[in-house]
């Protein structure tokens, strides 16, 4: 068991190291360098020299990669060209905002999705199931920027209940942020709920058809108890990986949703940095996203180990 856990951690560390290498190499492969792509037609004379010196571009690529990784490991992501500030000064309050948005969406969506999934699975092919599954299909097929735009139109432009876009600064208090995250949370949750619910439903249907559930029924165990004691715990194991994947999806979804709602999180920071060709910032945010992605998957793996004794045996 400890070796298994260690191995999972090892994999995670290797993945992050690999991602960092790919990201660094990708930036190196761009035409020009960090300074010329940012300065554009101002990339000449003393301005270019100052930038090259400040970014340390006169050193060989391997040295710079080493420095970047060592810095990132200590939370120092270099210097943003556009904002003229160290990247880590800008990242953490936005990280908090994204975590707030994603966290609330996940906390609302996951329990609700599990509940709805079970309800649909247990009442398979009945009106409850049909309407829930239909709604889920709809939520999955409509892109989140369309949902977001529709919500803005109805709730911000027509009814004016919520702000259309966030206009408080990134460092505003959580209380200040709350009215601004209502619509984004709805958009993110809708997709989360749809994905998780469908998986839980499928899983519940599988378990309901299994021999041990049939056995329990034949023994006269009340249906409620069967569901609570046998169906739900067993249905959760395959659902767990989907939940992890969905949370990882949340990272991509959050970029789109933050952009539409002008929410001051990591997503808008990244998009802005791409527009500005502020490569140190792009690298930093991309690295943070990949670390979160890997961490969520690692957690799911570990949780599965805890829930399912079969996985702890050799060969898994």
């Amino acid at each position: 068991m400890p070796t298994l856990i260690l191995r999972r951690f090892g994999f995670a560390a290797f993945t992050i190291a690999f991602v960092s290498l790919v990201m660094f190499a990708a930036v190196e492969a761009l035409p020009g360098n960090v300074c010329t792509s940012f300065l554009q037609r101002f990339a000449q004379g003393p301005r270019l020299e100052r930038c090259i010196e400040q970014q340390g571009l006169d050193r060989p690529a391997l040295v710079r990669y080493g420095d970047w990784v060592a810095g990132a490991a200590q939370g120092d992501f270099g210097y943003s060209l556009k904002k003229r500030k160290p990247v880590n000064e800008l990242i953490w309050e936005r990280f908090r905002n994204t975590a707030l948005l994603g966290g609330i969406a996940a906390l609302l969506a996951i329990p609700l999705a599990i509940f709805l999934g079970i309800a649909a699975g247990v009442r398979r092919d009945r009106p409850v199931d049909l309407s829930l599954s239909g709604a889920a299909m709809l939520a999955m097929t409509i892109p989140e920027f369309v949902t977001a735009t529709a919500l803005i139109y109805v709730f911000a432009i027509l009814l004016q209940w919520f702000p259309a876009v966030t206009i408080v600064s990134p460092g505003a208090s959580v209380l200040q942020m709350l009215p601004n995250i209502v619509l984004p949370v709805i958009v993110l949750s809708a997709v989360l709920i749809a994905h998780i619910m469908r998986m839980v439903r499928a899983s519940v249907i599988d378990v309901m058809a299994s021999d041990y559930v049939q056995m329990a029924r034949l023994k006269g165990v009340p249906e409620r108890q069967i569901i609570r004691k046998h169906v739900v715990p067993n249905a959760m194991i395959p659902a767990l990986n989907v939940i992890a994947l969905t949370i990882a999806w949340l990272l991509a979804g959050v970029v789109v949703v933050e952009k539409v709602f002008n929410y001051p999180g990591l997503g808008t920071l990244m998009i802005q940095a791409i527009y500005d060709r502020d490569l140190p910032m792009v690298q930093a945010v991309a690295l943070i996203f990949s670390v979160i992605y890997v961490a969520v998957n690692l957690l799911a793996d570990l949780a599965a180990l805890v829930l399912d004794p079969r996985l702890r045996r050799k060969g898994h």
Binding site: T36, V168, K259
Partner: protein
């Protein structure tokens, strides 16, 4: 953190108190929150400095300099010494009187090496400023410049209070104390910056009591915010966004000409473009009106004849440049390309419409037997690898006054002389214009230069772009002038609620 909590509290209150008396303007967050309230900072907070400070001279309705803090000005016959008579009784927001000392301070600090202001290059023409008396400042130039008032009309050359800034020429001055129609209350470039009207403004109190500059970096988000009534005004709508407001009685849409242009550049030193007949032939094949409509939409442009001086500039020459396929063919035949000519054009998505413009010209030039092969270059590294490196390529320029654009793009020694324009005669005309104190004579020289560019130049500048803005119909007093010249103090917001 504590500061931001206080700000948040202030914002909550500001949010609930939004009324007809608050004008809410989006702040484009061009420097991502590092904006400085110092007008000459490389990261100037444009929307704030526009309202907090005043200039010596500002743009009048005819495009010519009109009084702001200076009431009148005159030059010595050699146009090297300029004397500005200042407006009496002007005070800064902190109560200090505005004097010639402040003029000297505000002008000289633009030259600071440490501040490294974008205005430095232009303002280096100033040798020193003499304080003749408290209400008279004499600016002594290193060289002749008959249009010096145009230079101090720049939107960044604002008058600061020397005392508040500690008379320190080499440091940014971020006190935010000016003489403008609005004074700074709360500074938060990432969130909402709050201004309130300055009751002692020399031209009378502004039309609205408060002004909020709300940071929204993304244009789509600004559109949504205007629709939802979170802001009252929006700059630079795209052709796709304009219809959202155009037929809605709640909004007013204004389309105004600007000096921005996107163009295609032929290097006049490289074959086949070293032959002026070839350059002119290519430029003559263009149907500029059709091109403008295709690329920028019906109301998106004003046609130009390859002269970079825009329609709102007092020195814009009146040139006619209809499409002339026969003329182009004749010129090509003369230049030895009777059987047609094939050239490569490097384009990239670097400026609005650049690629589309190249495609339209490609089609129009076909009729004269010119084959333009488009080469799509990556926008990454474009300005280093393609621009001014290839023989025929796309470019884009922001608005500049005649003297500035002609000097920056066509003086033989200019760093951004992208056409490789090397004419001692043209350089002499540039100098002559600066030395000519008589307006009409000066205008004639600028006109000559523009005609030269149409006849023989290397730039293809089919149009100057318009900018489209939309605002709440509750606002009145926004003149159809380019963004830098809007006077927010004249804006009145009617009706209640928002």
């Amino acid at each position: 953190m504590k500061k931001s909590l206080l700000l948040s509290a202030a914002l909550v209150m500001a949010g609930t108190a939004v009324s007809a008396e608050t004008l809410r303007i989006p702040h484009e967050l061009g420097y991502g929150g590092s904006e400085s309230i110092d007008p000459i900072s490389p990261q100037r907070f444009y929307e704030a400095i526009q309202n907090v400070y005043s200039r010596l001279v500002r743009q009048g309705e005819d495009g010519r300099p009109s009084p702001d803090l200076a009431l009148s000005w005159e030059a010595t016959p050699d146009a090297k010494e300029w004397t500005f008579k200042l407006r009496e009784g002007v005070t800064f927001h902190n109560g200090n009187a505005f004097t010639a000392e402040d003029v000297a301070f505000s002008l000289m600090r633009t030259q600071s090496e440490t501040i490294d202001s974008p205005t430095k290059g232009v303002m280096e023409i100033i040798d020193h400023v003499e304080v003749v008396d408290p209400m008279t400042a004499k600016v002594v130039l290193k060289q002749t410049h008959a249009d010096f008032p145009l230079l101090v009309m720049d939107y960044r050359i604002k008058m600061l209070d020397a005392e508040t800034c500690g008379n320190e020429l080499d440091a940014l001055c971020e006190s935010g104390v000016g003489t403008g129609p609005f004074q700074l209350v709360d500074y938060d470039p990432l969130g909402t910056t709050t201004l309130k009207r300055f009751d002692n403004y020399y031209n009378g109190p502004a039309g609205t009591e408060n002004m909020e500059l709300i940071a929204i970096a993304d244009q789509d988000a600004r559109v949504a915010a205007l629709q939802a009534g979170q802001i009252d005004f929006i700059y630079a709508l795209s052709a796709e966004q304009t219809p959202l407001f155009a037929n809605n009685p709640n909004f007013t849409v204004q389309s105004v000409p600007t000096g921005r242009w996107v163009g295609l550049v032929m290097n006049t030193q490289t074959a086949p473009f070293d032959d002026p007949r070839v350059r002119k032939a290519i430029r003559m094949t263009a149907d500029r009106d059709a091109l403008g409509k295709l690329v920028y939409g019906k109301d998106g442009f004003i046609t130009s004849c390859d002269h970079p001086v825009w329609s709102g500039d007092q020195y814009r020459a009146d040139i006619d440049c209809p499409r002339d396929i026969e003329g182009a063919k004749a010129l090509l035949a003369e230049a030895g390309y009777a059987d047609g000519l094939t050239v490569e054009l490097f384009v990239s998505d670097i400026s609005e419409g650049a690629v589309k413009m190249a495609e339209v010209l490609q089609n129009q030039a076909k009729d004269a037997g010119i084959t333009i092969e488009l080469i799509q270059a990556p926008s990454d590294g474009y300005w280093g690898d393609v621009w001014m490196k290839e023989a025929f390529f796309a470019t884009g320029w922001s608005q500049r006054p005649a003297d500035q654009i002609l000097n920056e793009a066509y003086r033989s020694t200019a760093a951004w002389n992208e056409t490789g324009w090397n004419s001692s005669e043209f350089d002499a005309q540039l100098d002559a214009a600066r030395g000519e104190l008589d307006f009409d004579a000066r205008k004639a020289v600028y006109g000559e230069m523009q005609k030269t560019l149409w006849e023989t130049g290397g730039s293809f500048i089919p149009v100057h772009l318009n900018t489209v803005r939309a605002f709440s119909s509750k606002l009145s007093g926004i003149q159809p002038v380019e963004d830098f010249s809007i006077r927010y103090e004249d804006v009145v917001k009617s009706g209640s609620g928002s």
